[in-house]
Symmetry: C2
Subunit: 302 residues, 2 copies
């Protein structure tokens, strides 16, 4: 994926101010403590909001069973974004050949075989199979913060390959889930507004793959299943920092999550892209958080 000169300028400023350290692979950085500290403070704000919902917190590694992506249709919709984990299971002779090829700059891909793991593409994916069974009458609310991976190398600082997503997931009756989504839309706009970010809600669709994907995206828009909160990051064209997805019964039917009356539950989730929010704050208020307006620093610290 290409990047514009405005995006490259912002990227280079972040590097010059020692906020990010490029690894050599596009979209994979080390972050400074200054960057991380802003991210952590914002993350704590989201956690405090989720606590008001009584959300149950779960913690995941950055990978999940490959089988889970095979079951959920993720591979049909987003085959281009998936990262799978491969490893070596050969003989000593093959290990020597692997080492030799690596030293000589030759490909050693064919000496790798797939493991049972894939990188987590969205923070909520590993949650659904854990909740198989009958929900309480009031449903459930779960909160996670995961490292996610999407295979989209880019020079746009707003598009990392590895990034953290803070998600809240609601499971219950359709009307419960929809009312929750609306409440969080207002909460999220208020949170971002308190940080003086120019946030607005837009109808959105997922980046489904290929020609058939265009139809899926149109259907998603028509049913108003997805919207995003966008703010300017590297350019004046705003980028999504928060995404709301209403899955209807998709995940619950797959994993047997039902309401007490036996009907399939509905699910929805919202996710904040933590690096994106942090970048938007640097873009809006400058590269030194000590110099940000007192009101913004106070809002960040809750």
């Amino acid at each position: 994926m290409s990047s514009t000169s405005e995006q490259r300028t912002f990227h280079d400023e972040l590097v010059r101010h020692l906020l990010i350290f490029p690894s050599g692979v596009p979209g994979v950085w080390a972050l400074s403590e200054v960057f991380e500290s802003v991210l952590r403070r914002f993350d704590t704000r989201v956690r405090a909001l989720a606590a008001e919902d009584g959300a149950e917190r779960l913690h995941f590694p950055p990978a999940l069973p490959r089988r889970l992506l095979e079951r959920t249709g993720y591979l049909d919709f987003f085959p281009h974004l998936v990262g799978t984990v491969f490893s070596f299971a050969g003989s000593e002779e093959e290990a020597r050949e692997l080492g030799r090829r690596a030293r000589d700059g030759e490909s050693w891909a064919e000496l790798q075989a797939p493991t049972d793991l894939a990188l987590t593409p969205a923070a909520c994916y590993p949650v659904y199979p854990m909740l198989s069974g009958v929900l309480p009458e009031s449903g459930r609310t779960v909160e996670v913060q995961n490292h996610c991976f999407r295979n989209e190398p880019s020079g746009d600082p707003g598009r990392l390959q590895f990034f953290r997503m803070h998600e809240v997931i609601r499971l219950g009756r359709p009307e419960t889930v929809l009312a929750w989504r609306t409440a969080w839309q207002h909460r999220s706009l208020a949170l971002l507004g308190s940080l003086e970010l120019d946030a607005e809600t837009v109808q959105a669709s997922d980046p489904f793959f290929g020609r058939a994907g265009k139809m899926l995206a149109a259907g998603q828009r028509e049913q108003e299943l997805k919207f995003e909160i966008v703010v300017p990051i590297a350019t004046e064209v705003p980028t999504a920092v928060c995404s709301f997805n209403y899955h209807q019964g998709h995940f619950a039917a797959l994993f047997g999550i039902t309401l007490p009356d036996g009907s399939v539950a509905h699910t929805a989730c919202l996710g904040f892209g933590l690096e994106r929010v942090t970048l938007a704050l640097f873009r809006r208020h400058g590269l030194d958080p000590e110099e940000w307006p007192r009101s913004v620093r106070a809002a960040l610290d809750g």
Copy 2:
């Protein structure tokens, strides 16, 4: 890798008490908030000790450039532990084939190609290439906490495939680095002792691959380059929860890290396995942290 009946019993107790949630792939779990809260509190204790050293904190995603493992010899020493990231870059027709195979339970591995990324095998690996150049006279101290991956599926709860390592890395003159290592050995024993864990130091070697690896391990022991602090986790046979590695000039020579007099710097690191320390605490003090001795809870909270 197999597991003993004692290990399986401890694993099942953790599951029954809702502290861990197996994913279906051995060594890949979700963690409860109770588990994570203990881990976080221990992590904060290590961070406070590193702050006394004036350590600079850096933050990394769970992957690094594959090229870095190719350059450092990691692939020669530990080819069996490495995880590489593969992805799809094919046509719409190939995407349909991929989706069909996944649904039908056939292999879709050959439709995946290697990316430029590998999973981070040890938390300090991405640090060294960032420090190319001349160190200050007093050297540098860097601190990281990373998700690491090692391809060793096992039923032993003390051996996760994804786990977090809190590392401190010291770069400087050989005598500086060695004195630092000794100081941290005492600090680490004191920290684990304050949590009433039966911790002791042992000479150790890395799990080098194959027959040649046996010689490497012997040399590492002879030169006293590695030691570990071990405590009982799932069984009375103790497991390493903290590992100290003295690399001499290995990484510094590779990445051009020098002292002001132009000589190659030496480096050492120590890493706490955060899930292992947490498991050792549950094993030692019981599965409900509210019931732990007051002195242990106080030490955990610093």
